[in-house]
């Protein structure tokens, strides 16, 4: 386990170096700048202001100088100051990380609670109406765009029934979390249902299952000790990948529900060419992804002890 952690740590450091460099270089060469983004609105900011801004932010310095400055700050744990808000990027991220994490956890909980049992029972009753219904739900869930599903949920639960608030973060309570979480969780739920079904079906056809059955093992024991643990390796991979991508990939849901997450900050910062904010946000997303991947790797060891010996 120690070796796995060490290997993951080295990989994470390398990944972060590559991502930081790539984002910086890309944002330095693509057209547009923070100054030009200020003029994208209808009101014109004077040339004098733009000139001073570029000077203040050091935007006219050569790219290697700017990159060196950024890396030097990063090495001291300083994510820099946002061009747009003039606030430390770390401060901007701190509030949003929690909101995004909460949303991702709630969405994943929804996906796991619904998708896993659905896929499992569909596989156990292959060819039945439950199987057909589950697969129909799965395909629909993967096909419906998140913004459309969100609007439908808003229409039903807010406008028609009046049970839940339409959007916003509120005081951070559950009522504001439910609709965005379901919207974000629909696609992973559908994918999980499909993956679980496929994994269980594959495991059901394995020789060790037939052997266990022929030895007279009870169905309950068979499912718990053999079927679930073996099928769960593949399911775990799907959960990890989906969960990891939720932090940065929930931008549509965040925008629709006015949810103060990391994804919408990233999109806004890209639009503003606010490089420090983009770098900080990407860094957080990458770190989150790496952390989830590492946790999934560790979970493999618990679920399938054979992996320890490979």
């Amino acid at each position: 386990m120690f070796n796995i952690l060490l290997r993951r740590l080295v990989q994470a450091a390398l990944t972060i170096c590559v991502v930081v460099t790539l984002v910086f270089v890309l944002f330095s060469v693509i057209p547009g700048s923070f100054a030009s983004s200020l003029q994208a609105d209808k009101r014109d900011v004077s040339a004098e202001v733009l000139q001073r801004l570029e000077q203040e932010l050091g935007l006219n310095d050569p790219m290697p100088v700017r990159f060196g400055r950024y890396v030097a700050g990063l090495a001291q744990g300083d994510l820099g100051t946002s061009y747009a808000t003039k606030r430390p990027v770390a401060d901007m991220l701190s509030g949003r990380i929690w909101a995004s994490f909460k949303l991702a956890c709630a969405a994943m909980a929804f996906a796991v609670c619904i998708g896993l049992p659905l896929g499992f029972f569909a596989a156990m009753r292959q060819g039945s109406w439950l199987d057909t219904a589950t697969m129909t739900i799965a395909v629909s869930g993967l096909s419906v765009p998140a913004f459309w599903a969100g609007l439908l949920l808003m229409y039903l639960f807010s406008l028609t029934l009046g049970w839940l608030p339409t959007f916003g973060y509120g005081a951070g309570g559950m009522s504001h979390l439910i609709l965005p979480a379901i919207t974000l969780g629909i696609a992973p739920m559908a994918l999980l249902a499909r993956t679980t079904r496929a994994a269980v079906l594959e495991t059901l056809g394995a020789e060790f299952i037939r052997t266990a059955r022929s030895k007279g093992m009870s169905e309950q024991r068979l499912v718990i000790h053999h079927l679930a643990r073996n099928a769960f390796v593949l399911v775990l991979t799907t959960i990890g990948l989906q969960f990891g991508s939720m932090l940065g990939g929930s931008v549509v849901v965040e925008k629709l529900f006015a949810w103060p997450g990391v994804g919408s900050l990233l999109i806004d910062s890209v639009g503003n060419r606010d490089i420090p904010a983009v770098q900080g946000t990407v860094l957080v997303i990458v770190l989150f992804f790496l952390l989830i991947n590492t946790l999934v790797d560790l979970a493999y060891l618990i679920v399938d002890p054979r992996i320890r010996y490979r």
Binding site: G32, D41, K42, V45, L53, E56, A84, R96, G150, P260
Partner: protein, 543 residues
């Protein structure tokens, strides 16, 4: 030079008239409708408003941001020397009780109200005004508000570090100060937006001003959930007696118009701005249509042309484009009548608007004739650089068949707004679509065609000494009537020269709930609502 007393008095009177009569001189007041207030305002409740132009605020420092989004929110927390009075369609004194112009028309002496307090409990004094303006102009400052204050005498020297104070700002006593400009300027136009808000030095220099703003507006900041909402509570020492009416205010920060529509219909918002599609639906709804406030905003949508690029350097080609396209059908079908046809650069609510001017008619035959005169009988092709917005790519696509009918082939090149504006400023874009702020100062709006201005202002590169002279004459004229006549003449000249394809003036529509009263129709930006005057009746769910 010695001037006779008669002349001095006359100039002062003229200047006073100029300051006070933007509305009176206005030809076309905004065609808006506001629900009549039939009962006295009621205090209490929570206003649930929206900041509808983005999913985040740029900055809580009002001096640093020129975003409409941020300025809408600033209305709750900050106040400036002047304010926009939607009922009069002009600027009015806000933090001062009196302004006295000097004989030469360049210095204005203000007497401040003596009942203005900041949210930190300190009384506002003249030194706060001087400090706020000096902060904006400080050496090394890059605050957006510099654009507004650059005409104060001595600002350049101070900004460049060549002076230890701004020469044009003079403290007289605790409640009196003067501002001297380097020309004949209506200070109201420059000093009414929240970007020039008066701030307390000790709060701005404190550790958390950028996350906990302090101003002297009607509401005290409570909380900002970045990317979601910002809220405030009633400021008990607000200088307007009885105001604000509401106890609390909350802005939801989002630009998702579908979600805003749902929330408004669900009764979770008291007011919201509408998209084109929502406008159609709300207009046809017997209940929702009752609360619509239509505002002819001071923004002119147009297709800009790079006049240094052939064939746009030829006036006949530019006029041909203006004659070739049927604007009415684009406004009706594509923009769902949520726009007013442009008849010049200055929009309907501008004091410089000329209501007698006829728009370019839809006349393809005339367009073809003009092209033939220009040696382009077989037409020509050009590329228009656009964003993916309806008002940009959408309008271009609607124009395309009309242009094709006269032999002009246009190809869209789609890009991000920031990239587009950079390309325009560098003179790289042959043609583009844009909405320009064209008010309330008509002279500032017309400077978009001043040949001495940089490309970031004069985007098409229009160069015409005759126009520059007209503009200079207007700037140098104090008599309001004569000044307006010169402004209209200059606007008419631009209309003839057609440096842009004149499309429309935006019609903003604010939807209000039946329980909401006092929402103003702000032509400078409809979403910037004067929240201290808004009140909720007993039917409001948030009372």
């Amino acid at each position: 030079m010695t001037q006779t007393p008669f002349l001095l008095l006359s100039r002062r009177r003229m200047l006073t008239a100029l300051l006070a009569t933007t509305a009176a001189a206005t030809v076309g007041l905004p065609p808006h409708t506001v629900r009549a207030q039939v009962v006295p305002p009621r205090a209490g409740g929570k206003l649930r408003m929206v900041a509808p132009f983005g999913s985040a605020l740029q900055s809580l420092d009002p001096h640093a941001t020129y975003e409409s989004q941020d300025m809408a929110v600033s209305k709750a927390f900050h106040r400036s020397l002047y304010n926009w009075d939607s009922a009069q369609n002009t600027t009015v004194l806000e933090l001062a009780t009196q302004v006295t112009p000097s004989e030469d028309g360049k210095t204005f002496t203000y007497k401040l109200r003596d009942d203005v307090y900041f949210h930190n409990g300190r009384k506002m004094v003249a030194e706060d005004v001087i400090w706020s303006y000096s902060r904006i102009l400080a050496p090394g400052s890059s605050l957006s508000a510099i654009s507004n204050l650059m005409h104060i005498a001595g600002s350049k020297a101070y900004m460049d570090g060549g002076a230890d104070h701004v020469e044009g700002l003079t403290l007289i006593d605790d409640l009196t100060f003067s501002v001297t400009f380097d020309g004949f300027i209506d200070p109201g136009f420059l000093l009414f937006e929240s970007v020039t808000a008066i701030l307390p030095k000790e709060a701005v220099e404190g550790p958390d001003f950028l996350s906990r703003p302090v101003g002297c507006g009607p509401f005290v900041f409570v909380e900002h959930v970045e990317g979601s909402r910002i809220s405030g509570k009633k400021f008990d020492r607000y200088f307007k007696p009885g105001k604000p009416y509401a106890d609390e205010i909350e802005y939801t920060i989002t630009d998702d118009y579908s979600a805003l529509d749902m929330a408004f219909r669900a009764g979770e918002l008291d007011a919201t701005v509408l998209s084109e599609n929502a406008y159609v639906m709300y207009s046809q709804d017997p209940v929702l249509s009752q609360g619509l406030i239509e505002v002819a905003e001071m923004f002119t949508r147009h297709m800009g042309m790079n006049l240094e690029v052939k064939p746009f350097d030829d006036i006949r080609v530019r006029q041909a484009i203006n004659y070739a396209v049927d604007r009415d059908i684009i406004i009706k079908k594509l923009l769902k009548n949520k726009a007013f046809k442009a008849v010049g650069w200055l929009p309907t609510p501008s004091s410089g608007f000329d209501a007698t001017r006829a728009p370019y008619a839809y006349d393809p035959a005339k367009a073809k004739a003009l092209l033939a005169e220009a040696g382009l009988a077989d037409g020509f092709a050009f590329e228009a650089w656009v964003t993916d917005a309806t008002s940009s790519l959408g309008v271009l696509q609607a124009m395309t068949p009309f242009l094709a009918a006269v032999g002009i082939t246009v190809t869209p090149k789609v890009m991000e707004a920031g990239v587009l504006v950079e390309a325009i400023n560098k003179g790289q874009a042959p043609a583009w679509f844009r909405s320009n702020g064209t008010g309330p100062d008509p002279i500032a709006a017309l400077q978009s065609f001043d040949s001495r201005r940089p490309r970031s202002t004069n985007r098409g590169g229009f160069k015409d000494p005759a126009f520059d002279a007209m503009l200079d004459a207007a700037v140098a004229t104090l008599d309001p009537t004569a000044r307006l006549a010169l402004i209209r003449k200059a606007d008419g000249y631009i209309f003839e020269q057609a440096p842009v394809w004149f499309h429309n003036y935006n019609k903003a529509v604010v939807a209000t709930q039946p329980w909401v009263h006092g929402v103003d129709a702000n032509v400078t930006e409809a979403a910037i609502i004067e929240v201290d005057a808004v009140w909720l009746d007993d039917a409001a769910p948030a009372r």
